[in-house]
Symmetry: C2
Subunit: 446 residues, 2 copies
């Protein structure tokens, strides 16, 4: 997996317009990047002294690969299902997950997702689902980077009947990926209401015993969660804190229903937030107080949630909603400028995942996770403000090449690590089974 | 312009997945469409008896070309300018329009726009701007369909110093395009507050004298407009009605600030609405009551506004906001289902423009304005609900071919009627001048 033979290989990219996303937001109008093995070892303006074996970027934009800090990637297979109905969780999702989600289906869905992620410029994804080892293997095989979290919940999960079993699955996941260079195993209690204070406390103890294994959880997402937490005498954030799980590095997804004092507490504890603008918007759930959370110093990344919630896994589809939602809340054009959106999609997302020392910006010493974006489409021209171009005009199809850890995963939109035709055919086959199941559900309920 | 030699030509499209968008929302899983000259003369399921000279659509989706009922297409040249600042109108737009917007610049911007429209699947656009004859010529040359409206306003307009002059420009526009098969001349009073009751009354009289020439106007868009209308003793809609301009077929753009009684009045008068979700969201202005307007029977189309307001001219970038905004308002997943979004983008947009007898659906006797969409990208698979796929996963790059009035304007993403390289190079040159002007404005104001 480490490709030891390739470790000494040097890749030199020249004639690139570079957004480094470093602390100074350094931009290089025409520059170059040198990559030794999996790391960036030099970058600069103009042309380097020695351009032996250089790859000319043709003036295209080169920026850090994007970070998607919350998803359920195998749910590509549920994309577009149960739209526009309020009872989708009980009507569609739970029956489908109980009856159709097998290790094989998860593997197929995750492999379809890795195609989409690479083609959409996402180089690191955080996932929480079932049969999570399958997700880890799909991520490993695709060549991208992932934080893969085994979900623990008190409902009929497709891969465990008890919390004990879920902890055992998590232990096995950690064992399998402990030393993987790109796949980070993780533990993912589903949500406060679906695990409860005791299990949250147990997860906190487990996390203390497993340093370096991130914890992911849905937090402050639904109205039902608010009702549950009121009965338990606090906000979801407060109850999580009392259980000892509001720990540094917690990856908290959604945080739609958080009060000002919740925000202060989250900032104090060192929690990171994965913001799911489209999923929250499509669910009619509301707009998260992203401006306030970031103002309090909480890192907030841009995530997609699962494709049953917001349909796609690239971040482009989230950008305009992320910006517009805060502008609508503030009744002004000023909140959430495009520069900030792109920071959230790169270095801030890396901070949420505790990986900002390795990824999220193009800097010497960091991993060579980068994307090449063509600005040639008429839809993108002219470019006065590159961040605005990326946020409000670009799309996944403008990604021309994707590199992770110094390896090209896509060039000129041709996949390198993945067999597109086989993955698509497998996915269509599973979707056919799911389609029959849905027809059955619809027949039963009419 | 009529290509008389081609009038007898027959085009037969086979092996297509067809969304007709007719009154019954008829869908054909595998079917064909016969086109004689500029019109659809037959369509059906399976394979036609005679397939001589047929073009195989390879199972791709074929649907009506989309209708964008409100834009300022020449403003492609301002795309991405003045983002994230509240005083953009006075700081950037007005000085730029006064000093930089010439007939040549309008022509260049409009030609860049037609590239983007064809590539994004928009076959009919309604525009209101200055030097509108240039827009009409660009639309005519590109082969798309347009409603081109000369703007009349009481501010320093780049092409007129008085309303008399603006009416004269409109008369000339009507003369030039009166008999054009695809370009419909139009009159476009800027807004109630920027024309005033007397000029609105004069436009109403002018419109009565020029039957078949549609009237376009911004209505109920800004907070400032509300302040103005309060001083005039009514809502913007009421003041427009009192001036006699709330006439059948009025194309009212935005309608963000409309009361329940305004909506009843608009429905009674037979007004159509162009909804600019992204422009309103990016401006932090609010969410239009689209659910209520449609509920009252008002046709509502999906439009982009100018590229300085929402950056792109294709409707895909509007779809998710259009749906999400209504779901957020309703605090439910149910409002604005994907089927309705696609209706608004096609037949309902055609109704807004008064063209539903000719375009907006694929039916025998209608104009052959259609688009071919590939569903092959991993991002679009699987497809359980084709409307959801279009609204929440597809993008302009999935458009494979575009036809207007029986003529292919793009095939396999290759432009047929337009010279991409020349248009792009012209646009870059003008953008360079604009960039220098902006730098000057920024220097002056610091």
């Amino acid at each position: 997996m480490l490709h030891p033979a390739k470790r000494g290989r040097v890749t030199l990219l020249t004639n690139a317009r570079i957004l480094t996303m470093d602390a100074d937001m350094t931009e290089i109008e025409r520059g170059w990047i040198r990559i030794d093995g999996d790391r960036i070892t030099a970058l600069g303006t103009g042309t380097p002294d020695d351009i032996t074996g250089a790859t000319d970027m043709g003036g295209d934009l080169v920026m850090p690969g994007m970070v998607n800090p919350h998803s359920h990637i195998a749910m590509t297979l549920f994309r577009g299902l149960g739209e526009d109905v309020d009872d989708r969780l009980f009507r569609y999702i739970l029956p489908l997950e109980r009856e159709c989600v097998t290790a094989d289906a998860v593997s197929t869905g995750a492999r379809l997702a890795t195609l989409e992620l690479i083609r959409g410029g996402v180089t690191t994804v955080a996932d929480m689902y079932y049969f999570e080892a399958e997700i880890g293997r799909a991520v490993a095989d695709a060549g991208i980077r992932g934080v893969v979290g085994q979900t623990l919940g008190n409902f009929d999960a497709p891969d465990h009947d008890s919390f004990d079993q879920a902890f055992a699955l998590t232990d096995a996941l950690v064992d399998e990926f402990r030393n993987h260079p790109r796949v980070t195993p993780s533990i993912a209690p589903h949500a406060p209401y679906s695990t409860g204070p005791e299990i949250m406390a147990r997860v906190a103890r487990w996390a203390a015993d497993n340093p370096g294994v991130p914890v992911q959880m849905h937090l402050g997402e639904t109205d039902g969660e608010n009702d549950w937490s009121r009965e338990h005498g606090g906000t979801p954030v407060e109850i999580t804190d009392r259980a000892g799980l509001l720990i540094p590095g917690l990856i908290a997804a959604h945080c739609l229903h958080v009060s000002d004092s919740d925000i202060s507490l989250m900032a104090e504890r060192g929690v990171g937030v994965a913001h799911n603008a489209r999923a929250n918007g499509k669910g009619g759930r509301g707009i998260a107080p992203v401006t306030e959370m970031r103002g309090a110093g909480i890192p907030v990344g841009i995530s997609t949630d699962g494709p049953m919630s917001s349909n796609t896994l690239d971040l482009f589809s989230q950008f305009a909603p992320v910006s517009m939602f805060q502008k609508l809340r503030g009744h002004s054009r000023k909140p959430m400028p495009s520069r900030d959106v792109i920071r959230m999609a790169s270095i801030e997302g890396a901070q949420v995942l505790g990986m900002a020392d390795r990824i999220g910006s193009l800097e010497v010493g960091k991993q060579a996770d980068l994307i090449r974006i063509s600005l040639d489409d008429p839809r993108l021209q002219p470019v006065y403000d590159i961040y605005s171009t990326l946020v409000f005009a670009a799309g996944p199809s403008d990604i021309r090449a994707t590199m992770v850890a110094g390896e090209w995963l896509m060039q000129d939109r041709q996949m390198i690590t993945l067999e597109t035709a086989r993955i698509m055919s497998d996915a269509r086959q599973v979707a056919h089974t799911f389609g029959a199941k849905i027809a059955e559900i619809d027949r039963r309920s009419t």
